[in-house]
């Protein structure tokens, strides 16, 4: 039973995607039903996985029964299980949201199968225990995302999609190079095995610092860390809103997960250099994201720059590699996946309803959509970290850890960035929902019950998560444990559990 569990989050979406491809282009209705039911099934399966991991510890599956350091293993620890759960929830919300927001032409040209393939690649990248297999799963979800970013073929999508393709192909090539260096230095590809070999090695491992830099280049490009975020605001701006929500909530977080994994397992030798570098880049990312979030009056751009701030905060927590920092980073990572999706979906609703994304041209929507307005306000509080909401716990732990380790300036920058986040989202709230009423006859007569269902669902889950944060602490502590105490992750190879 436990053997098959780690494979399910990868196989279910792949099978659904193949079935959807086989159905063909004629029956969109069937596409919608199968896609949403698959997403719901994935939510149930990932809750079962979280339960199993909480009950019995790390689940390991040796694919094809090849023994661990030689074959490819799928390793689900609590961090991976929680990320898979968050991914499934976001997928369900986005698929339901797409019913009323993606045009029929895109739906007919295999929009849902591509989402399914992308989710399968993302889940694979979270659950794999092999560094080369992680590269393969990166390629799986990147290929699907190349299709999603260009599907529809509008001018801006093609223009920005080509840049997105180029940047990601470049960084994927460097991923292969980093794996090659790593293999020649360590002689293994299994991540747990590499950790065991490196921690038992007492010679000069300074070559690992070089590999750390190459790996950071790769994953920083995927995650959008300074200075490799240059492609992100342009590319995420191009596709329609639900695709943007998926990308913004999930794709960058896979990069962050990969950074957390390799920096906790591989680069344990020269921490003063590698993790210091990571923290410096994280803080610079926060600063650049803050400047962008204040500078624009376009709602899409404001939310996109908020992604950068969140990435910076999470990576700052990871770079500390102590208990408080990593617990905070896992809290904020899960919180950010959920609330960023919610925020994108809410902003998307406003754009679809008004046909306008510039906040200076909108106003007074509170008279027509009061609940949406308050939901946007709650999500702004959640993102900034107002106490009962989960963003607060993440930031509290991260800032505590930064101050404890003597990085007071970075801690203060993280705290100030909360103000910027709050200001940037409140600016949307104030000028769109308050102020002088716009011409309400210009509103688009769309049906929007599913748009509101998905976006409210995400905000409600976020609030529930905030109130249950204390009860969920054991889960997050065991998730963070595989980061701050990596031997608990690699222990399965030594026969210790």
């Amino acid at each position: 039973m436990t053997d098959i569990i780690p494979i399910l989050p990868i196989m279910i979406p792949v099978l659904a995607g193949i079935i959807l491809l086989a159905i063909g282009r004629t029956n969109i209705y069937l596409h919608r039903v199968i896609a949403s039911l698959t997403a719901l099934l994935m939510v149930i399966v990932s809750i079962v996985i979280v339960y199993y991991v909480a009950q019995y510890g790390i689940i390991v599956t040796h694919v094809g029964n090849w023994e661990a350091p030689f074959g490819v293993s799928l390793v689900v620890d609590m961090l991976a299980a929680l990320l898979v759960l968050a991914t499934s929830i976001v997928t369900f919300a986005v698929v339901v949201y797409s019913f009323q927001s993606i045009d029929a032409a895109r739906e007919r040209f295999f929009y849902y199968p591509m989402i399914m393939f992308m989710i399968s690649g993302i889940n694979g990248a979270f659950t794999t225990g092999d560094i080369f297999n992680m590269f393969v799963f990166f390629e799986v979800f990147l290929l699907a995302s190349y299709v999603l970013i260009t599907t529809g073929g509008t001018k801006i999508q093609l223009q920005e999609g080509f840049k997105y393709l180029l940047v990601n192909i470049l960084s994927s090539n460097f991923f292969v190079l980093a794996v090659a260096y790593l293999y020649s230095a360590v002689g293994s590809l299994n991540m747990a095995d590499i950790h065991n070999k490196l921690s038992a090695f007492d010679g000069d491992a300074s070559i690992m610092s070089l590999i750390a830099v190459v790996m950071l280049f790769v994953f920083a490009t995927k995650a959008g860390l300074f200075p490799f975020y240059f492609w992100l605001p342009g590319s995420y701006f191009a596709p329609p809103m639900p695709i943007m929500a998926l990308f913004g909530a999930l794709l960058t977080k896979v990069g962050v997960y990969a950074i957390a994994r390799v920096y906790s397992l591989f680069f344990i030798d020269n921490v003063e250099f590698t993790h210091q570098m990571l923290m410096l880049l994280a803080v610079l990312t926060i600063v650049m994201g803050s400047i962008g979030a204040i500078a624009y009056s376009d709602m899409k751009k404001i939310v996109i720059y908020n992604i950068l701030i969140a990435i910076g905060i999470i990576v700052a927590g990871i770079s500390m590699m102590d208990e408080a920092g990593t617990v905070g980073a896992t809290y904020y990572l899960i919180n950010d996946i959920i609330i960023k999706a919610g925020l994108f979906l809410l902003v998307g609703f406003i754009i679809y309803r008004t046909g306008e994304s510039d906040i200076t041209k909108l106003g007074g929507l509170m008279k027509i959509h009061p609940v949406t307005g308050w939901m946007l306000l709650i999500s702004a509080f959640g993102l900034a970290g107002v106490p009962p909401l989960p963003g607060f716990y993440g930031k509290l732990f991260i800032v505590t850890s930064l101050f404890d380790n003597g990085h007071a300036v970075s801690g203060i920058i993280v705290l100030l960035s909360s103000l910027v986040v709050l200001y940037s989202i409140l600016r949307i709230f104030i000028s769109v929902f308050w102020g002088e009423s716009m011409d309400f006859t210009k509103l688009k007569p769309i049906s929007y019950d599913k748009l509101l269902f998905s976006s409210f669902l995400m905000v409600i889950i976020m609030v529930a998560f905030g109130f249950g944060a204390d009860a969920l602490y054991p889960l997050f502590d065991s998730a963070a444990q595989s980061l701050y105490e990596p031997s608990s992750y690699s222990g399965y190879l030594l026969g210790v559990d």
Binding site: F132, V147, T154, I156, L158, Q159, L166, V176
Partner: protein, 114 residues
């Protein structure tokens, strides 16, 4: 032998950087192809180059080659093939829709005519 191949990989990567810095879409795509060739040679070299060894681990075999870099190499070749094909398709669509293959003009928010 290893040094020679590493120098060759460096030359290929240098050429690909030159191609990718040019303005034409087609040259950029060729550049990514050559870049992946350089990196694949690097990957192969990292496993150690041997003549006459077979990639089989068996008690009767005295000298064997590490099969893992070759397996990874094949995977990466397949992935690169798919990516290059897709990139060419996107490039054709870019040329038809935006009417240019000059990346210098691919900036800002293009106006939708239709």
């Amino acid at each position: 032998m290893e040094i020679l191949i590493i120098v060759l990989a460096g030359l290929l990567i240098g050429a690909s950087v030159y191609l990718m810095l040019s303005k034409s879409l087609l040259r950029i795509i060729l550049g990514t192809g050559i870049l992946s060739h350089g990196i694949l040679l690097m990957l192969l070299t990292m496993g150690g180059l041997k003549r006459g060894g077979i990639p089989v681990l068996d008690d009767s075999v005295q000298q064997y080659t590490d099969p893992l870099p070759q397996a990874m190499l094949l995977t990466v070749i397949v992935i690169t093939f798919a990516l290059t094909a897709y990139m060419l398709v996107v490039a054709i669509r870019v040329y038809r829709e935006l009417g240019t293959d000059d990346v210098e003009q691919l900036k800002g928010v293009p106006r939708e005519d239709d």
